[in-house]
């Protein structure tokens, strides 16, 4: 349970980190908080030749929000999201998701971009970010790319990130007026990987009818899954019990979770329905 040998360098700036990453070749890894990477090293599931430590680079650890939306720096720690006064209303889902990542000491070190780049199918932030139509800025010595969340994740622990790229920030577009969002998950014990995670964002029009809906599921597939049919059930409805039940059933019917030793596919699908319903009802309470 000890990490295998690797060469290590602590970057002094983002530019320095990108240069080191170029030098190190394609079996290098970026180390930020290390809360996912170090366990992989301990298990020898990852054997990078080089680690480039960006954990304390200045400038990547801030959040800002204005009329154009919200930008979350790649090195913002989960516990900062969890306790942020900015992340309410439309952004509430980020705060709630961050508070459910691992345990308190993990959240103190773990980083926003680290969770995205690691792309664990059971991770909370990819699901929450997808529900807010986020894009991620990734940088290499060749320049920047801005990649929508829907294109960023391509499989379990797989993203479109190139070896020489670093996730710099997450960009959340200005939300539709009145957007409210929330997150829920079920895990067997506090802090364990969830069986099912759900991120929901809805906005109502002046008449109290849903005019924007995002329902995204985690842990039921290789990547965050948008429950499009469930969203369709909500659109135009007044978040009535019938509409919520229909959306919950559609979300459950539209996913294909795998059978596992701790949770059967049937159980996970039932959890999807329960969590989608419960989260929508909670958001309805916020819309008096």
């Amino acid at each position: 349970m000890k990490p295998p040998p690797f060469a290590y360098a602590r970057a002094e700036s983002l530019e320095h980190a990108l240069t080191l990453l170029d030098e190190a070749g394609e079996d290098a890894k970026v180390l930020a908080g290390g809360q996912s990477l170090v366990p992989l090293l301990a298990y020898r599931l990852a054997r990078p030749t080089h680690l480039i430590d960006i954990g304390r680079l200045p400038g990547l650890d801030t959040m800002r929000s204005d009329d154009t939306g919200l930008v979350v720096g790649g090195l913002v720690r989960h516990h900062e999201l969890e306790r942020s006064a900015v992340l309410t209303g439309p952004w509430q889902v980020l705060r709630e998701a961050a508070g459910l990542i691992g345990h308190h000491p993990i959240r103190i070190r773990g980083t926003f971009a680290g969770s995205l780049a690691h792309a664990d199918p059971a991770a909370e932030l990819p699901v929450a970010a997808t529900a807010l139509d986020a894009s991620f800025t990734v940088r290499s010595t060749g320049g920047d790319r801005v990649i929508p969340a829907a294109e960023f994740f391509v499989g379990p622990f797989m993203t479109v990130l190139e070896p020489a790229e670093i996730v710099v920030d997450g960009r959340f577009p200005a939300p539709p007026a009145g957007l409210r969002s929330a997150f829920a998950e079920f895990s067997p014990r506090a802090g364990d990987f969830a069986f099912v995670a759900v991120a929901v964002a809805v906005a109502l029009d002046d008449g109290g009818r849903v005019r924007h809906a995002r329902i995204v599921l985690g842990c039921v597939g290789a990547l965050p899954l948008r429950a499009g049919e469930a969203e369709d059930e909500l659109m135009g409805s007044a978040l009535t019990e019938q509409a919520i039940d229909a959306a919950a059933r559609a979300a459950a019917a539209g996913c294909d979770p795998v059978d596992g030793p701790h949770a059967s596919a049937t159980f996970r699908r039932e959890l999807v329905a329960v969590l989608v319903g419960r989260t929508l009802r909670r958001l309805r309470e916020d819309h008096p």
């Binding site: 295998p4 360098a9 180390l31 000491p105």
Partner: protein, 165 residues
């Protein structure tokens, strides 16, 4: 800074329990192992992959898993371990509360729980009981169960707040 090769050692300067300490470690050495190699064996290693929390130390005042932190990542940081809690023969309030509340049996998880609780009570001295409980779920105890540990931390919290009744 240039590369530290996989067979090389890096100089890491940290302050451990108030004492400036120069370590020489390979890059792959975890902070937990570096501390233990330095004679501070109060930090225990249970699972070595971030699940059990026995290795919890304070890094710049905040509880972290020292098995998930490389020693090189602690460069320039302030590290506190269980050895720094008592003042001579005088137990820290938390240590005494663990003793008085039966919050330890075999003691293997105790240093981690003490550092976790110390970090919490310092950052959030008024943490409500449900928050204390939630943070204490971070670590595993296989003897007492969580109840006495929660009781001990709440008792220490009251004492630290000056409410000794």
């Amino acid at each position: 800074m240039t590369w530290i090769g996989e067979d090389d050692s890096a100089a890491v300067d940290v302050v451990v329990n108030g004492r400036p300490t120069a370590m020489r470690v390979p890059a792959r050495r975890t902070l937990a192992d570096a501390l233990r190699d330095d004679g501070l064996t109060g930090t225990h290693l249970g699972c070595e992959h971030g699940v059990c929390g026995a290795c919890t130390v304070l890094l710049d005042g905040r509880p972290v898993r020292s098995c998930l932190t490389l020693a090189v990542q602690a460069e320039g940081a302030d590290v506190e371990t269980v050895e720094g809690m008592a003042e001579g023969p005088e137990l820290h309030v938390l240590q005494r509360a663990f003793h008085e509340n039966g919050a330890l049996q075999c003691g293997f998880c105790t240093p981690g729980f003490l550092m976790l609780a110390l970090g919490l009570l310092r950052a959030e001295p008024e943490a409500p009981p449900e928050r204390v409980r939630e943070v204490l779920t971070s670590n595993l105890c296989r003897c007492t169960g969580g109840g006495p540990i929660v009781q001990a931390v709440l008792a220490a919290q009251r004492e630290l707040a000056g409410d000794v009744a």
